[in-house]
Structures are given as structure tokens and as C-alpha cells.
């Protein structure tokens, strides 16, 4: 990462800003959870979108994934793909869309 002092001072300012942003979005998450949307599923979807946004801030800025070596992206791409496969397939093993309801 950055090695010259100016860049590091710049980074420190950015880090503090992101810290405040994360705190603000935490308040937003809590507040949103008390608003009744069209259905509770929508609450979950909106809550997860905000959480994902916060997580991306942490991953991109704090873990400086916004400028990392290519190799790290390759490793993470596969990992995320497999983790998503877990989520999706686990979800569908409880809610089978191809069930023949007429039987």
C-alpha cells in the first residue's frame, strides 16, 4: 500500500470518513427495521442491501480491495461463487419451485 507520508495522511482522512459513514448507515439500518414495508420480506431485502453496502465499504476501503493484486480477486471470486451456491441451493432445498401441486 501507500508508502509516502502524504499518501498515508490522505488515507487516514479517508479511513475516518468511512468510519463515520459506517456509523451513520448502522443508524439507518436500525431505523429501517422499524418501518413496516409492504411485507417483511422487503424489510429483509432492504436491510441486506444496506448491510451489503456497508460490507463493501469495509472490504473496498478498509481491506483495500479497491486496489489489490489480481490474484486476490481470482481467489475471492471463486470463494464468493461457492458461498452463493451454498446460499441459493440451501434456499431452494426448502422451497421447491418445481413441485407438482396437483398430486
Amino acid at each position: 500500500m501507500a508508502d509516502n507520508p502524504e499518501a498515508i495522511y490522505g488515507a487516514i482522512r479517508k479511513i475516518k470518513l468511512i468510519g463515520w459513514l459506517l456509523a451513520v448507515f448502522t443508524v439507518i439500518t436500525v431505523a429501517l427495521s422499524y418501518v413496516e414495508l409492504a411485507s417483511h420480506s422487503w424489510n429483509i431485502i432492504v436491510g441486506m442491501i444496506v448491510a451489503t453496502f456497508k460490507a463493501s465499504l469495509v472490504a473496498l476501503i478498509f481491506m483495500h480491495l479497491n486496489h489489490e493484486a489480481k490474484l486476490v480477486y481470482k481467489i475471492l471470486a471463486f470463494t464468493v461463487a461457492f458461498a452463493l451456491a451454498l446460499f441459493i441451493l440451501f434456499y431452494f432445498s426448502n422451497t421447491d419451485p418445481l413441485v407438482y401441486k396437483d398430486f
Partner: protein
């Protein structure tokens, strides 16, 4: 890199020499750790095999005492161990259902997690891989030591569970809930329970695997010698690279499964227990709301990639053994690399084909049937590459080549018998029968284990400086081949006859098993009749044949054990550092390699399999030589340097 290397050459011997314990017990040297893994793994394979012999006896002769039981019990130390572990569960030497269940569960666990993975992956990768990529050690040597000792603790935990009051775990190596969540909980102390110890040992084992695979991948990524580009890397390293990724990403969900099952048993939660579950006509004192299906998903998310963890090291070893013994380049190196990567990727997306019988839904079944059929394509490419590599070669039939050539048809049988199981409609009939047992044992027993033997014979001279005896090697090979086939081939017949995999009596008390017969059972019956043995002409008779095969297999291992230990001091000394005339970098080191491995700054200047290059006098052209007999200069290698990303 070169700076570091020059420094090694100058100051490598200034180091304080570590004592015996630092050198051979708590060593951080990758070669010692590799050998530690290999020997521990071999011992566990032997122990797992011994458990299997007891099971086979019970299957062929249910209710009859194990031969030699009283004799073994009376041997001073061994007898005590035997009695405390196994004997006390077998009154009068007869294996009962309880003991059979323990043996079955532990046979699977030990073979998979404590035998083949430590030997095939950890042992070989630790010893061979850093040499093959031309580096001085693994990227994190101390972590490497830790992962061996964590693995060791897990092994000791598994073995120790035999000594507990409850005996070891009894619910099959798959530990399916709800049975595995609820059985045997009425004990004085749930912490001193074989099942609890199994789960905790697995947590240790998984941690060891994770640390090991992080180390392997980092080493392969960052420590390759100058000039050793990805596509100059031997297939061995590629395959191990893929295996390490499988371990890294597939093991954590199993850790989750183990932790959740642990919570179910010790804290009384209901992760895997459905609402209203009853046992013995009574509702259990649980909240319910969980699902056994969840356990199976988490378990098979690991356990299917685990199949490739078991088989890829075999391909890795054979990709080195076959070219060296046919004196021909590996056929389709690039295709094999890409096939291996595809195989690794797809292996994460096929797990639920083990679960067709759970009724998990039409969409899931359809999806998993498709991916399962897809994954057979890269598997076939790998096998085909090895087979075509034989064509036109001038084959040296060393013991390692014998094992390698037997692997090809054996793995072929194992793989092809698996294809029908990919389809739900066939799987529904064959699920949990001996057909499945036969299928996966053909893949891992005469498949992977044969490849592991080939690897032992192949790299033994590098580790010890001596060659294993050729005659004993052949004496090891032939009985093993015959024994393996006698055990596993009849399983297909029994399986299609409906024999269930968990019958401790081999099906004796089921009426239907007595009536089915065919030409094979008739042959078996007549064959044993020649020796005056009364073997019935039905599917049950095959049990005797298989047990007979197991005994042949057991006898076949005696020459190997002798050969392995006696050759350390008594084997023929190698004529030079490269006794098999190989091309890869591990053969450039002194024999055995010293701490730090290489005596000169090694670089790679060509691909890994340059055998029988047209127009050359010798039939191999090592990776590290610029011209025959002369090591390439580091300065001559012009690697493309990618600038470091700037921040």
C-alpha cells in the same frame, strides 16, 4: 529471490544444528514433515485395513469367533491394547452389531481423513512439491509443523475414543442426524463419549487441513523458482494446487456441520432434529424445528469435493510416474491442467447427488443430475491423458509402473460404475447397497491407494538414497491386485441383488439373500468345494469369496512393510541423484536433500516432461539444464516481470 538464495549458499551452514527433537520430531523442514505425514498416514491405513478385516470376518462368518482372538488377547502389551479397544466389545471373540458399527464408522473415518489425505496429499505435497518448484521450504514452515501436530492430535483423539466407556462412534462415517444427534446420550458424562471425541477430533483435523492448504497454495503462488512459469509446472503441482483449494473451501462447511451436531448433542439444540421426533415411542425432550436435510447438505458439501481430494493426488503421482517409466512426455499436459481446474470447480456444485433419496425436490435433483453428468467429462479427460501417455512408450516395468498401469483400468471400473448412480431413477434402487460400496472402493482402494504405492516406490530413493527392492515390490503388487478385485468386484453383484451396506451379518438373517444365484455364485461355490469348503451357491456365498480376497490382500502387504523398513538401511544405493532419469526439479537436489534443498541457484528453462526429445542422445532433458549435463545460469532466464501495483 536470487539475493536470498546467494545468502543461503554462503551462510546456510552457519546455523546452529537442531537436536534430535528439533530435527525429527518438532521439525519445520518440509521434507521431515512430509515423511512424518506419510508414515503416520501409512500406519493409519494399516489400522483401517485391520478394522476392515474384522468386519469382513463378521460378514462372512457371523456369530463365529474371530480366529486367533484368544491368542492375540494374551500377548503382553498388544493384547491389552486389543482388549481395551476392541476385545471388550466382542464377548468370546464374536463381532456383534455394536462393535461392527464402531468398526464401520472408524474404518471410513480413518481411511479418508487419517489415511489417504495425510499420505496422498499432505505427505507427498510436503515432501515433493517444494523440491519440484525449486524452493528451500514451504512459505510458512512453523505453520507447517503446527498443522502436522494438529493432525496428530486428531488421530490420537480418534484412536483414544476406542478406549472410552462408550467405545468409539457407531453411526457410520457420515454421522447422519437425527440418529447421530440422539443416540447414546444417556451416559454419565457426555464429554467422555466416543461421538463427542469424534466431533472434536474432526475440528482438529479440519484446522490442520486448513493450515496445510493455506501453506501449499501460498508456496505454489509465491515461491516458484525463477523461470518456472505456471505452464512449466509439473502436473503434480497443478493437481495438488487444486486439491489444496478443495480442502480450503470445502472443509469449513463440514466444520460447521460438526459444530452444529456437537451443539445438538451437548447443548440440546435442534439444528438437525425435526419437530415431533420420537424415539422408542416417546417424544424427545427437544424443541424441534430443525432438519436432517441441513446436516446432509453441509456434510456433502465437503464430502463430495473430498472424493476429488482423494483421487487428484493419485493423478498427480501418476502424471510423474508414467512419463518417467514410459520415457514419453505426458500426453495432453495443457488439456489435463484445464480438466483438473474444471473438475475442481465443478466438484463444489454436485454434492447433493448423494442425497437423491432424501426427497429434496425435483428442481434440486434435476440440477444435481446435470452437474454430476458434466463432471464426468473432465474426469475422463484426465484418465484418457494418462492412458494415451502409454502409447508408443518404451515401458520400464518397475514396481511403481506396475501399480500405475493397474490404476488405469481399476479407476476406469470405479468411474464407469459411478455413472449410473448419477441418475435418480437408478440411484433410488442402488442407494446404500453394496453396489455403491463397490463403486467408490474401486475408485479409492485399487485406484488411489495403488497410486500412493506407486508414489512411495518412485520417491523413496530421493528420501532415503536407496531404492526399494524390485522383487519384493512385484510380490507386493500381484497379490494386491488379485485381492482388491476379489473383494470389490463381487460387491456389484451383491449390490444389484439388494444387499444393504450396513448388515453386520452380511445378510444371513434375510431370507431373500439365500435364494438368488447366478453363474458367478455357482463358480464360487464350486471353487471352494475343491478345497472341501461348504460355500452356498447364492449371493451369500460371495461373502466368503470377498473375505478370502481380503486375506490375500493382507498377505500381499507383508512384502511391502518389510521392503519399506528394510530398504532404509539395506536397499541398493542410488547411482546418482536422478536414479530414474527424470526431468523435474526435485531430482536436481543431493540425495537425500539437505536442509535448504538445493546446492546451486536453480532455475527452470523448459517444460516438465521433455522425454525422448528428437535428436538428443539421452532420452530425457531436465528442466534445469541449458544443455545436457549443464545447469542453466539464473541470469539466462528472462522472466516477464509484472510491475507491482502502486498505491
Amino acid at each position: 529471490m536470487s539475493a536470498a538464495h546467494t545468502q543461503n549458499n554462503d551462510h546456510g551452514h552457519d546455523h546452529h544444528e537442531p537436536g534430535f527433537i528439533g530435527k525429527y520430531v518438532f521439525s519445520t523442514d518440509h521434507k521431515v514433515i512430509g515423511i512424518q505425514y506419510a508414515i503416520t498416514g501409512l500406519l493409519f491405513l494399516l489400522f483401517g485395513f485391520f478394522l476392515m478385516l474384522l468386519m469382513r470376518w463378521s460378514i462372512a462368518y457371523p456369530g463365529q469367533p474371530i480366529p486367533g482372538f484368544d491368542l492375540v488377547s494374551k500377548v503382553p502389551v498388544l493384547g491389552w491394547l486389543f482388549n481395551e479397544m476392541i476385545g471388550r466389545w466382542a464377548p468370546g471373540g464374536v463381532v456383534n452389531g455394536e462393535l461392527y458399527n464402531m468398526l464401520g464408522a472408524m474404518h471410513g473415518t480413518i481411511m479418508v481423513f487419517l489415511g489417504i489425505v495425510p499420505l496422498g496429499f499432505a505427505g507427498f505435497v510436503n515432501f515433493v512439491m517444494p523440491l519440484q518448484i525449486g524452493t528451500i521450504d514451504m512459505a510458512f514452515p512453523r505453520l507447517n509443523m503446527w498443522s502436522y501436530w494438529l493432525f496428530f492430535v486428531s488421530g490420537v483423539g480418534m484412536l483414544a475414543s476406542f478406549f472410552l466407556g462408550t467405545g468409539s462412534v457407531q453411526t457410520g462415517w457420515t454421522m447422519y442426524s437425527p440418529l447421530a444427534s440422539t443416540t447414546g446420550l444417556a451416559v454419565t458424562n457426555v464429554w467422555m463419549h466416543g461421538h463427542t471425541w469424534w466431533l472434536l477430533s474432526m475440528v482438529f483435523n479440519i484446522s490442520a487441513s486448513l493450515l496445510g492448504s493455506v501453506n501449499v497454495i501460498t508456496t505454489l503462488i509465491n515461491l516458484r523458482a525463477k523461470g518456472l512459469t505456471w505452464m512449466r509446472m509439473p502436473f503434480f503441482c497443478w493437481a495438488m494446487f487444486i486439491v489444496a483449494f478443495l480442502l480450503l473451501l470445502a472443509f469449513p462447511p463440514l466444520e460447521v456441520a460438526a459444530l452444529l451436531q456437537f451443539s445438538d448433542r451437548v447443548f440440546g439444540s435442534s439444528f438437525f432434529l425435526p419437530t415431533g421426533l420420537m424415539e422408542g415411542g416417546q417424544h424427545l425432550d427437544i424443541s424441534g424445528g430443525g432438519s436432517p436435510l441441513l446436516y446432509q447438505h453441509l456434510f456433502w458439501f465437503l464430502a463430495h469435493p473430498e472424493v476429488y481430494v482423494l483421487i487428484l493426488p493419485a493423478f498427480a503421482i501418476l502424471a510423474e510416474v508414467i512419463p518417467a517409466n514410459t520415457r514419453r512426455p505426458l500426453w495432453g499436459y495443457k488439456a489435463m491442467v484445464y480438466a483438473g481446474l474444471t473438475l475442481g470447480f465443478l466438484s463444489f456444485l454436485v454434492w447433493a447427488h448423494h442425497m437423491y433419496l432424501t426427497g429434496m425436490g425435483t428442481m434440486m435433483s434435476t440440477y444435481f443430475q446435470i452437474t454430476t453428468v458434466l463432471i464426468s467429462v473432465p474426469s475422463v479427460i484426465l484418465l484418457t491423458g494418462l492412458m494415451i501417455s502409454l502409447y508408443g512408450g518404451s515401458i520400464r516395468f518397475t514396481p511403481q509402473m506396475l501399480f500405475a498401469s493397474a490404476f488405469l483400468p481399476m479407476f476406469g471400473i470405479g468411474g464407469l460404475t459411478g455413472l449410473p448412480l448419477a441418475f435418480t431413477f437408478i440411484d433410488l434402487a442402488l442407494h446404500d447397497t453394496y453396489y455403491v460400496i463397490g463403486h467408490f472402493h474401486y475408485v479409492v482402494a485399487p485406484g488411489t491407494i495403488f497410486a500412493l504405492f506407486a508414489g512411495v516406490y518412485h520417491w523413496y530413493p530421493k528420501a532415503t538414497g536407496r531404492v526399494m527392492n524390485d522383487f519384493l515390490g512385484k510380490l507386493h503388487f500381484w497379490p494386491s491386485l488379485v485381492g482388491m478385485n476379489l473383494i470389490f468386484a463381487p460387491m456389484f453383484i451383491q449390490g444389484m441383488g439388494g444387499f444393504h451396506r450396513r448388515w453386520y451379518d452380511g445378510g444371513k438373517y434375510f431370507e431373500q439373500t439365500h435364494s438368488a444365484s447366478n453363474w458367478f455364485t455357482e463358480l464360487t461355490s464350486k471353487f471352494f468345494g475343491l478345497f472341501g469348503m461348504d460355500v452356498p451357491n447364492n449371493l451369500l456365498g460371495l461373502n466368503v469369496l470377498m473375505t478370502f480376497g481380503a486375506v490375500i490382500l493382507m498377505l500381499g502387504q507383508v512384502p511391502f512393510i518389510l521392503n519399506f523398513w528394510l530398504s532404509v538401511k539395506g536397499g541398493k544405493k542410488v547411482k546418482n541423484d536422478n536414479p530414474w532419469d527424470c526431468t523435474t526439479l526435485e531430482w536436481a537436489t543431493p540425495t537425500p536433500p539437505p536442509h535448504g534443498n538445493f546446492t546451486f541457484d536453480i532455475v527452470a528453462v523448459r517444460g516438465p516432461y521433455e522425454y525422448s526429445v528428437p535428436g538428443m542422445k539421452q532420452d530425457y532433458f531436465p528442466q534445469w539444464e541449458s544443455e545436457p549435463g549443464k545447469a542453466a545460469e539464473p541470469a539466462s532466464v528472462n522472466t516477464k516481470v509484472v510491475p507491482t501495483p502502486h498505491h
